[in-house]
């Protein structure tokens, strides 16, 4: 108990420790972002999408927008939103920016990250976010369109790069994540 008081223990246990990693991504403005150190000192809500996903991923993004609005109304500041793509092959920074912009997303506290497959997989696998190729189709002119089967998840990262909670993406427990964010402030 005494050690807990001295160390400012949080009620949320550490689920994954990302503080030792350092992977470079590009955000929607093609600026380099070192993950997770770029967000040190901030609470981070991280979600995972790919822009060719028509159904689930827009739900996840919409949930993140709603969460951002809720936190703002509750006066909770300094929460960074990060969205990482499963599909850096197609989801370039420009594509991610268009995906977000048409949804009216404010990039002030929200980065959409795209990186190499190796860096992407390193981050995803470290937090048990799995994905694999799913069904595919061909357009009339023979272009291959593939879909991705992926986990439906978002994570809460504390100010020191430690994951403190996992939640749904398209099915988000707003009450729980807001309470958990408040406990990290």
């Amino acid at each position: 108990m005494a050690s807990c008081l001295l160390m400012s223990c949080n009620r949320l246990p550490v689920v994954y420790n990302l503080s030792e990693m350092n992977y470079i991504f590009l955000n929607q403005d093609s600026a380099q972002v070192s993950f997770p150190s770029a967000y040190e000192g901030k609470i981070v809500v991280m979600s995972f999408i790919y822009t060719h996903c028509p159904d689930i991923c827009p739900l996840t993004t919409n949930n993140m927008q709603r969460l951002q609005d809720t936190l703002s109304m509750d006066g909770i500041k300094d929460v960074q939103f990060v969205t990482l793509t499963f599909d850096p092959n197609r989801d370039t920074p420009h594509v991610l920016k268009e995906y977000a912009a048409i949804r009216g997303i404010n990039f002030k506290d929200w980065d959409f990250l795209s990186g190499s497959k190796a860096n992407t997989d390193s981050v995803l696998y470290s937090i048990d976010v799995r994905y694999f190729p799913g069904d595919s189709s061909y357009t009339k002119d023979g272009q291959l369109i593939y879909y991705i089967t992926h986990i439906d998840k978002s994570v809460l990262i504390d100010q020191n790069g430690k994951v403190r909670g996992t939640y749904g993406g398209s099915q988000l427990d707003f009450g729980r994540i807001v309470e958990d964010i408040k406990s990290l402030e």
Partner: protein, 141 residues
């Protein structure tokens, strides 16, 4: 007089702000399409109500505002989500089928122009018995 009333109940088209169409006992309502930037992927959702005594089948969708439209279904399995193409969706007699997020949807690939909130687009739904039903869908997130 009675015959006229009988025919009209099954073949008239209702157009209330373009959001509801009924042809041959099949009614399509609450149609909407997700926002999407030009060249990207969107999805269409709607409710199909079968007011007839005959089951029907939705087997295709056409959308001029996009390169390809396909019937799809989202599935969930042990925390993973994915989607698969479906060849058709049956609409039982005196019943309804809803295309909604997380379930059946029309996948719209490579939209030709940006779909912005508030725009209206047209879908053509092809039914085995009901024929082609044109529906106005509103764009929203």
């Amino acid at each position: 007089m009675l015959m006229l009333l009988f025919v009209s109940s099954f073949t008239f088209q209702i157009s209330a702000s373009g959001h509801r169409r009924q042809v041959s006992g099949i009614m399509v309502e609450k149609a909407y399409v997700r926002t999407a930037a030009k060249g990207m992927t969107s999805a269409a959702y709607f409710k199909t109500v079968n007011n007839s005594d005959t089951a029907d089948t939705l087997y295709d969708v056409k959308a001029d505002f996009t390169d390809m439209a396909m019937l799809h279904e989202t599935f969930r399995d042990n925390g993973m989500v994915g989607m698969k193409e479906v060849d058709f969706v049956a609409v039982p007699a005196r019943d309804s089928i809803e295309f909604k997020p997380g379930g059946y949807h029309v996948m719209l690939m490579n939209v030709k122009e940006a779909l912005k909130t508030g725009m209206n687009v047209e879908l053509e739904l092809l039914f085995k018995h009901g024929g082609t039903i044109k529906v106005d869908a509103i764009v929203k997130e």
